[in-house]
């Protein structure tokens, strides 16, 4: 397409680039399917990024780093769960608060870790598979998180579609009053979904600071959480479509970076705004017309539940 850009490299790079938003989007998708709108993805991601980074640096283990990232994201989401599920606060405002707080807190606890290199995350040894021309380079030379993220998409899809837990989760998101009347614990189910969403966003954040960049700087997630939210809408709340959305976005990011590196004539600023611009365009396309994404939105999305009489 453009001179100097190798397609195998491009595809393999986009798979890596899309991991953070894919993980965060899958988490948020589950949260929204349970009827909760958590706009704090950006805050949870960056908390995951800093906690994961510190954990990895302190223990020397990237794996423990990812555990720390998930815990960091989940811990922050617990505040959101408390605010919206127990104290019945407005979900939009609580999500924004989570992001504002997460950005501040992460920069506070991360300040003595600037400029350090984290331990590297191992590549999965596929042996001879990695040497297959083209395919080997595209598919079999990644770190384990790349494969785990795809596996998580599959697991989420299966959970939502085929298990009783998934059915109950969807029911709660569809009508919390009806679910309550049948005796389901709406609040408990939603809190668990929020924690899962937090952990996934945290994992995604840890991937940014441990693999993508890899180091710690303030505001490292640079809006990835918001893009993950957009991808959930793009995906019409369906896991496999979230994968498509994330890879599409990852592709654009990688392409514009490559164009920057290749010294394209377009100014750098316009290239680096392109992912956001394209996300908006995709949102518009998905929200309008016959395939209206909003029609698939869980009916109780964003509404608080209080069992009165």
């Amino acid at each position: 397409m453009i001179g100097g850009i190798d397609p195998a490299l491009l595809i393999s790079a986009l798979m890596v680039a899309s991991v953070p938003i894919l993980l965060a989007a899958i988490g948020e998708l589950v949260v929204e399917r349970a009827g909760v709108l958590n706009l704090g993805v950006e805050g949870m991601m960056i908390m995951g990024a800093v906690c994961g980074f510190i954990m990895a640096v302190q223990t020397g283990s990237a794996l423990l780093g990812f555990v720390g990232g998930a815990l960091g994201g989940a811990a922050l989401s617990l505040i959101f769960a408390l605010l919206t599920q127990v104290l019945l606060a407005n979900q939009v405002a609580s999500g924004l608060a989570l992001t504002l707080f997460g950005l501040g807190l992460s920069s506070l606890i991360g300040q003595s870790f600037v400029g350090i290199r984290p331990p590297s995350t191992g590549t999965v040894p596929f042996g001879p598979l990695a040497d297959i021309p083209f395919l080997g380079r595209v598919l079999f030379r990644h770190d384990w998180v790349v494969y785990a993220s795809v596996a998580l998409v599959a697991a989420t899809w299966w959970m939502l579609k085929a298990t009783r837990m998934g059915l109950i989760l969807r029911a709660v998101g569809e009508s919390h009053d009806a679910a309550h009347a049948l005796g389901y614990k709406v609040r408990k189910i939603r809190v668990l979904a929020i924690l899962f969403g937090g952990a996934m966003a945290g994992l995604g954040g840890a991937y940014v600071s441990l693999v993508r960049v890899p180091q710690w700087t303030d505001g490292i997630t640079a809006g990835a959480g918001w893009i993950a939210l957009a991808i959930v809408v793009f995906a019409s709340w369906r896991p496999w479509r979230a994968l498509v959305g994330a890879y599409l976005f990852g592709g654009i990011t990688v392409l514009q970076l490559n164009l920057q590196a290749a010294g394209a004539r377009i100014p750098v600023e316009y290239l680096s705004m392109s992912p956001y611009l394209i996300t908006i365009i995709v949102l518009v396309i998905m929200s309008s017309g016959r395939g209206k994404a909003s029609l698939n939105a869980p009916a109780s999305l964003g509404k608080n539940f209080h069992a009165s009489r």
């Binding site: 605010l83 504002l100 501040g104 807190l105 506070l108 908006i280 949102l283 929200s287």
Partner: protein
Amino acid sequence: MIRLEKRPSPSRFWQGATPVLAVVLTMIAGGLMFAALGKNPFDAIRTIFWDPLFHPQFASYSRPQLLVKAAPLILIAIGLSLGFRAGIWNIGAEGQYIMGALLGAGVGLAFYPADLWFIFPLMVVAGAFGGWVWAMIPAILRTRFNTNEILVSLLMVYIAENILSSMSLGLLRNPEGGGFPGSRNLSQYPAASNPEMIAGTGMHWGVIAALMAVIAAYVLLQRHILGFHIKLAGQAPRAARYAGVNPTGLVLLCMGISGALAGLAGLFEVAGPAGRISIDFNVGYGFTAIIVAFLGRLNPIGILLAGLLMALTYIGGELAQFMLGLPAAAIQAFQGMLLFFLLAVDLLSNYRIRLGYKKEAI
């Protein structure tokens, strides 16, 4: 067992008391955070909330800063609060602020070095227009294509930031600046500057605009049918349609007002306190204003007070950074915490907390 019981009518007492309670709780939790950072919490709280106003040595510098910092926060928050009341979530004020500053400064610099009376008024109009246009994009996408305005307005911030850096490196770069990024200094261009009006007060055109916005919003919400419709649309959207409110018009109006006010805030900032367009021109007023709007309970008078308080934490935070070595990020976390506590105690105005053994299946 603690239970929540919905009040028949919202409590007037708690509506006023919750922001105060939230501030107190934040001071306690913030104190704990400062203690965890190895600072004396009482020193830190005093440095943030007391010293900027009353410290014998620093107050003379920091007191005027109060108005300088509060003006953009109040101006933006007033606009946001109208939308938030109507259930229209413009969270991209930061981008509208940038675009207002860029367009306003651009218009002013286009006349450089002419000395004409209408340059500054024209810049004001251009600043409001810049913010308005930037807010109209998510507004029209929402009304025309049903696109989520929260996500679009936020994503537009990142686009605005890229335009800002492109402008300060390119089109608006000071030709006499020796190649450094950033525009000419508008405060050295009298026809286009927004100077401090009375020395030592921090008073500038932005402060006057903020006060006017507070008064206008107050009258609108208390006395005008449009304000009533804004409240109605937020509380009961279907009742609003029944009352004859046109949802499309309301989105365009609320987004437009908030965008224009954010743009104005940006213009007054670039022509006054900041002086010039640079890569790091925006410092997060657009996001902090969200906290201000909620802390003021979306009420104009409340926002006025909340804006002053939040400005105090900015100045006090800088002071604490200088005097106690408190990291700048601690203040950002502190502000976020304030919003948490505010949201948490907000339920007291609509629910009663009951202690008892009666348990309903929840």
